[in-house]
Symmetry: D2
Subunit: 140 residues, 4 copies
């Protein structure tokens, strides 16, 4: 899949999000969140919800690139460990690596960085349910 | 602590957030996120990051109410299970129950609901690190 | 389902385990692990793996009681927070509450206690995949 | 640290465990659990608690190798995703990579494999609390 195709889909699905896709591959994806004042907390750090959002989108993008655009794929579990204070002056880079893509479930991990620093600011494990065409909904 | 005091602190700490505190107690807190178009995904559901944000704030509020306003308390781990599709027409209610509040760490759980429906839409476990006065920072 | 039926099934499925079922209900189950020397670590505390095992079994029992004996139900995610040092002299009691039982997935939480002390020693969230008759295996 | 020193400590701390240390490095550790009948469930697979135990030990070993033998280091959170059915005929190999080792907390991930197969059977994130000499206990 081309980056621009998936970016377009993403912008429709998450109109509030400004996450940009940087790279796509069989095994994962890299995304970037430009950081501005709206993402910060007093004291000058990126807020936790911003990090969780970037991770969720990175996983979504990596998965859709692998299985095709399946709008009903939904996050079922997300586990985040916050490790270091992100820089307020740097974009957040999310690097997703798919661990398993099965018929009905996918698991991936996302490493989050402040751009230019190779120490992870947060680590995320994400599980997605993949709907089956014949079943309508995966929610129950 | 009075709700309005904590609400004021919250509005300064998370200026982007519109979460409102509904109730405070020794064992927890209840918060509300009014849902509008900016919180939705196409297809009419509340986006995952909105749910994660409400949970994080509910835990923060419950903890600060218990230990006093300690601005440096930070989330260290958040684990969310998405259970059901939230309603696009209903506010999200977050009910936090503190499981343990220790000297250096606190753990709580948050149940998230679409208002008026008693089936949980998501369940969250949240861990906070509580800084110690003599140590300056808890981040390392 | 009767406790003795499920206990018998459990003893066959987990022959190494000595967990006993104490109570069963629509919404959950209570189990007990008798603690002896083989469950302890030096310094006199119950080892982490013992706690994880009790939680996993408590969830399994609660789920099977609800959906019938489906031997292929498998844990997909388990998240445990260790909260306090369990007593070496007390049995471990696991109280599982089912949060959601859907067609293909179930989520529950388990509170673990040292008997006679109402402060939780560990808190667990557990996700099970429920196989569908027509699909043979849920593992991929 | 030499493998045999840490192995000896481990055998004292976890006398029930037969996990063997295979490799130690600045960034992590590799361990092996020989699989015999006592680790299996009917149907021929390694039980979940065995996998959790191997992961916990792999993290413990990697951490102690890095910070020195600190017997009071304790797991605070363990999150496991079960991905594929392990082989009943193969040993379980656990590969721990430390993500962060701070003053008071360490986070690592552990990939678990059936020996000879490079598809992960389970993925674990583990958080340890590191006690501070002056504080006696980190548990509250």
């Amino acid at each position: 899949m081309e980056i621009h195709e998936l970016q377009e889909f993403l912008s429709n699905e998450f109109p509030q999000s400004s996450v940009r896709i940087e790279a796509l591959g069989e095994l994962g994806a890299t995304v970037r969140q430009r950081i501005d004042q709206s993402h910060l907390r007093p004291g000058g750090t990126v807020s936790g919800p911003v990090l969780m959002t970037v991770a969720d989108v990175a996983m979504y993008v990596a998965l859709l690139n692998r299985i095709g655009i399946v709008p009903l794929a939904v996050t079922t579990n997300l586990t985040i460990n916050f490790l270091r204070k992100p820089s307020a002056q740097r974009d957040i880079i999310g690097v997703c690596e798919l661990i398993k893509v099965g018929r009905s479930q996918a698991v991936g991990e996302v490493a989050l960085y402040s751009e230019g620093n190779d120490e992870m600011v947060a680590h995320v494990i994400c599980t997605y349910a993949i709907p089956r065409p014949d079943l309508g909904s995966i929610s129950s």
